[in-house]
């Protein structure tokens, strides 16, 4: 290999750039936000425009317990990242497991809610505009929870098999960013669908 040395640069400032995983996750969150905004706008636009029942007020209950579970899973996810930074894999696994448990409770509550809506109230995606917008918005969020749970489970499996170590902490942080985003979206969905939309 041959090279020609040329210009000399005098400043000796250390050169660092942001982590690419975190940069990419923030970009993904921007893109996903755009998708969710459209679904939320669709929901708000069609509020009260259904030509037939049931209406949100008749059939929706506030999902308090599952909301508390999902929001607190953000705290446990954060705790898992901090534990891994300190190279405490055992603590990290514990926090990951509790995150997954809380997320699974949330999903189970959603499944239960949908079962009631479909079987008891006869509300499906084809019933009326409320059904159309409700199932697609809440379903879109729930599918993001499923993806998050899958990724968290992979991480937990790695931790249990002993292949997870502190070098993975930046990657786990990327995953936790995604999880925080899913939680933040729920705050908006909860407010729009269950509080303002009723």
């Amino acid at each position: 290999m041959s090279t020609i040395p040329v210009n000399h640069e005098l400043d000796e400032v250390p050169w660092t750039t942001p982590d690419r995983g975190i940069a990419a996750m923030i970009c993904l969150i921007i893109a996903e936000s755009a998708v969710f905004i459209i679904f939320v706008v669709g929901y708000i636009f069609y509020l009260g425009k259904s030509l037939s029942g049931p209406t949100p007020r008749e059939v929706l209950d506030l999902p308090i317990v599952s909301t508390i579970c999902l929001l607190s899973s953000s705290l446990t996810a954060h705790a898992a990242v901090s534990a891994l930074r300190k190279a405490n894999v055992r603590m990290c696994a514990t926090w990951l497991a509790s995150t997954i448990l809380l997320g699974a409770i949330f999903l189970a509550a959603t499944a239960n809610e949908w079962y009631d809506l479909i079987v008891k109230h006869g509300l499906t995606i084809r019933t009326n505009l409320f059904g159309t917008t409700f199932y697609s918005l809440v379903g879109l969020h729930a599918s993001h929870v499923v993806v998050g749970l899958f990724l968290l489970s992979v991480t937990l499996t790695m931790a249990l098999r002993g292949t997870l170590n502190e070098h993975h902490s930046e990657k786990l942080e990327v995953l936790s960013l995604y999880w925080h985003f899913v939680d933040a979206v729920w705050v908006i969905v909860f407010t729009v669908v269950y509080v303002l939309g009723r």
Binding site: T3, I4, N7, A31, F39, F45, I125
Partner: protein
Amino acid sequence: MAATQVVDITEQAKPKELFLQKVHSWLTTVDHKKIGIMYIVYALFFLVVAGAMALVIRIQLMVPNNHFVSPQVFNRMFTMHGTTMVFFVGMPILFGFGNYLVPLMIGARDMAFPRMNAFTFWISALGGILLYFSYLGGDGLYGAGSAPDVGWFAYAPLTERVFSPGHSTDYWTLSLLLTGIGSVGTSINIMATIISMRCKGMTMGRLPLLPWLYFVMSFLVLVAIGPLTAAQVMLLLDRYLGAHFFDTQAGGSAVLWVHFFWIFGHPEVYVLVLPAFAFANEIIPVFSRKAIFGYPAMVAATVAIGFISLSVWAHHMFTIGMGPGANTFFTLSTMIIAVPTGIKIFNWLATLWGGKISFKSPMLFCVAFLFQFLIAGLTGIMLSAAPFDWQLGNSYFVIAHFHYVLVGAILFCIFGAFYYWYPKAMGRMMSERLAKWHFWLMVIGFHLTFDFMHVPGLLGMPRRIYTYEADRGWESWNIIVGVGAVFQAVATLIFVYNLISSYYKGEIAGRDPWDAWTLEWATSSPPPAYNFALEPSVGSRRPLWDIKHPEDPDSSYE
């Protein structure tokens, strides 16, 4: 100790490979340069296909009461022409150049996520193949339809099951969904690359303008493709699960689709035009032998265009009847976006001013771009006034306006970029003689077609009509437009021939044939797989100027 800047001058020996080995290496590559070239070849293929469709449309409209194709085929032609040109020519060709150039210009060895890069290319490619598979598979079990025929913006409720039975619309939706995933992935990759992979000393203030514009363009893709994807998902839910998003019979709104589509559709115009600006930003200074005029103003104008373009979408909807409030807002925001665009034009002119201009083929195309883009912008300002738009909305005047942008500005810059960077990618110069033929035929053809296309629009010829009566006075105009299209087709064939023949017979280019200043010219042509043997470090916006002129480096001024 001083950090050292280096230029790798190692000679690259081409390894001998069997044919299947070559195919295998292309199919499995994660190298940003190979992926970039695949994007470009893929887009050029579709450029020829969709260009042929445009010719069919022009032949059909050349004379009144023509029966060259049936009305059904005509509908498929303009739908496929528009969809292909936007999603399978414009986007991939620009992503191809971005993939190839961004890592080289910021002194990186690859994109931030090489494997994701390959994935997003292949999924976008699958989208294009799926769209064209509709010609075979569109019949489906219903025996209805073949290729999509709902227009490239596919207004509801025409796309609902009732009005579009069969699978033709599903092919349109699914292929756009797939390429959407690909585009978002590529944009995430480009942004992460620019944020995290810059070489030592390459601060955002020293970033060349091409990566800067690709950065803003990628941001626009993130926020614009999301709404399109969401709308496609809604349409799929309507068509497959019986949801009612755009089902007017059940209280759904057709206008909501129009809003969602253009929330994507207008930023998309800037997604396509920003890379064209980026090429002009690199080519005009090099062939004027001057640094770009007003670098900070250029960056600021780009960011301003990025933001304002998010609030202009409903100027596509004046004729829908939105009420005076919305009409006023979107008229004003559309006019405001002309300001940063004007700043750019003045900066390019100021770069030319007093420069030692050499009219090589890349520069010729960029100069034509400046004139044509100005006119395209002026008709844009005309159409931004809602009352004017009420008269001419949905007419050939609108078609002429946006083809002036897409062909006169974007395609001309893309041709310029080909002539400029081909020596870097292939190691050989393109024939300058053929390039001149290409340029002049293209200019003549372009102006014959799209200057004269404004007139039938003013005379009331609507877009998307299959044929027309002889007494409308549109006949002679359509003949001129059609003749221009033939000129453009010949020019494009010369270009394609030049691309292929120069690969075998072109003059060897060497590392830096244009005496340029950005980092891609610091490595051999074509660059080795690792781009730079030693990671470069830069002290200014024009690192190669600093190398060539150690007595007067830019780094002492910036």
